[in-house]
Symmetry: C2
Subunit: 279 residues, 2 copies
């Protein structure tokens, strides 16, 4: 089921840029990504709200038009993942900075006017911390975290600073209309392989009962320690790291008020699509 | 599959109270139900937020302990449905007044200290209005509304003022621990039959993709025009009425932070349970 096109050239290009070109990194540090506005206070939940734009099944069914500007998304979280208008790359937000990881594997700055068709963000506040002793692959990390979390029925934001002897990530190219299905888009994905790299995993664990709305279980993106490359995580070998988890007890979903979302057929079970898309 | 115990005595009692006893009604009008606090402004959605406590599948799996006080629920909506601690009756909120319909079919005032294990509320603002020409049963109303609504992928609050030549409603008795499953509780439900009655249907239409989280399709409660009786609607024959619909483009779900919710198994498909419980 796993169907990747490993672009060796892209990988090499990523390594060259990580090791060499410092200029863009400095620019990125000064981009005005920051979150100035406080998250709305909701019924005592405070910042423990997971905010989501649209639904996963709408994305699986080709609803790729950006419908929420990033400047608005930023008011709901400083941490999260998603994608961009036309499915152009992987989104990652960390410490209030938003990044777009394109098919060259590089993390580009994001402007407030760019829009997202699907994203999940929160204001990250550490509730639990765990030291990670490797080697540990993606599945082993998930099993470890599941053994530590208080309930499988809540939402969690997951943040791991680690060193990885190996990490495989992907990104997807911008799509043109008529949009193909996501399961077909991933057959053209670009895959990047990192070795001996430090960086941060950014993602969420969602409960099974939101199947159709979000990814049940873990959905994790990655960015290198220097914030210059990354992608949607396919697998890794983590050597050591620190995991912090934010237990988010409220879930807020905002639906598109126009466009393809109104007409798309969302009654189907798309779990087999999802497995091909995520792994 | 439909298993009701029609308590004729309860029905008669309801009719007697509707026609006779005016004293309680006046008391109800002076109860401090009102919503003083504004709904949180969320990303331009304003009041178009459907607020939910817990999940439907948790309720189906016997998570009946009240976890949110009504005084807090009221800050999220003036219109909605739900239940109470221990599954004690049907909740209905209309024009900012909250009611508890017990197994005698009567609508009792609700105090702020009472708590709910599951409820869905919003601040009702009319987006669409439709004149209803009967006779029309519950299914026919649903088909009619579905033909008028802009998308099956959004959430809608549905408000119908009507006259009914017939209406059948139910309520459920308070449960004691160890809690039985909801599908077993409804076998002990009390069913009320109204004839030639005016009143209001209060409910929601939720999209299919929130299966497990809320009731896919329509979930409707009823209260008489004098606000003294009602229940969870099983069927009716509406003669004429006015439907107003609030399109709610955002969904906010708050999860229990303690109790049975943490441990309950929510990965199962409970649609067959749901059909027995709702109809």
């Amino acid at each position: 089921m796993k169907k990747h096109q490993s672009f060796i050239m892209a990988t090499l290009f990523v390594f060259l840029l990580i090791s060499g070109c410092a200029e863009r990194t400095e620019d990125m540090g000064t981009e005005p990504y920051g979150v100035d506005e406080a998250s709305p206070e909701l019924s005592g939940s405070g910042n423990d709200v997971l905010y989501q734009v649209s639904t996963l099944d709408a994305l699986l069914q080709s609803v790729y038009d950006g419908i929420l500007p990033i400047e608005e998304l930023e008011t709901h979280g400083d941490f999260g993942i998603g994608t961009f208008d036309g499915l152009e790359g992987e989104m990652l937000a960390l410490d209030g900075d938003y990044y777009q990881i394109k098919t060259d594997g590089l993390a580009y700055p994001v402007s407030g006017e760019m829009a997202t068709p699907f994203a999940t963000v929160t204001f990250f506040e550490t509730d639990e911390s765990f030291e990670l002793e490797g080697p540990m692959n993606l599945t082993e990390l998930e099993v470890f975290l599941d053994s530590k979390l208080p309930s499988e029925n809540l939402f969690y934001a997951v943040h791991v600073d680690g060193t990885f002897s190996y990490l495989k990530a992907r990104s997807v190219p911008k799509q043109e209309k008529p949009y193909p299905r996501l399961v077909d888009v991933v057959s053209t994905q670009a895959v990047f392989e990192f070795e001996n790299i430090g960086g941060t995993l950014v993602g969420f664990r969602a409960p099974d009962y939101v199947k159709g709305v979000n990814v049940p279980g873990y959905h994790i993106h990655f960015i290198t320690r220097d914030r210059r490359a990354g992608g949607h995580v396919l697998d890794f070998k983590l050597e050591d790291g620190d995991a912090t988890v934010d237990i988010t007890r409220a879930f807020f979903m905002e639906l598109p008020t126009s466009g393809d979302f109104y007409e798309v057929e969302l009654g189907q079970d798309l779990q087999s699509d999802l497995e091909r898309v995520e792994k």
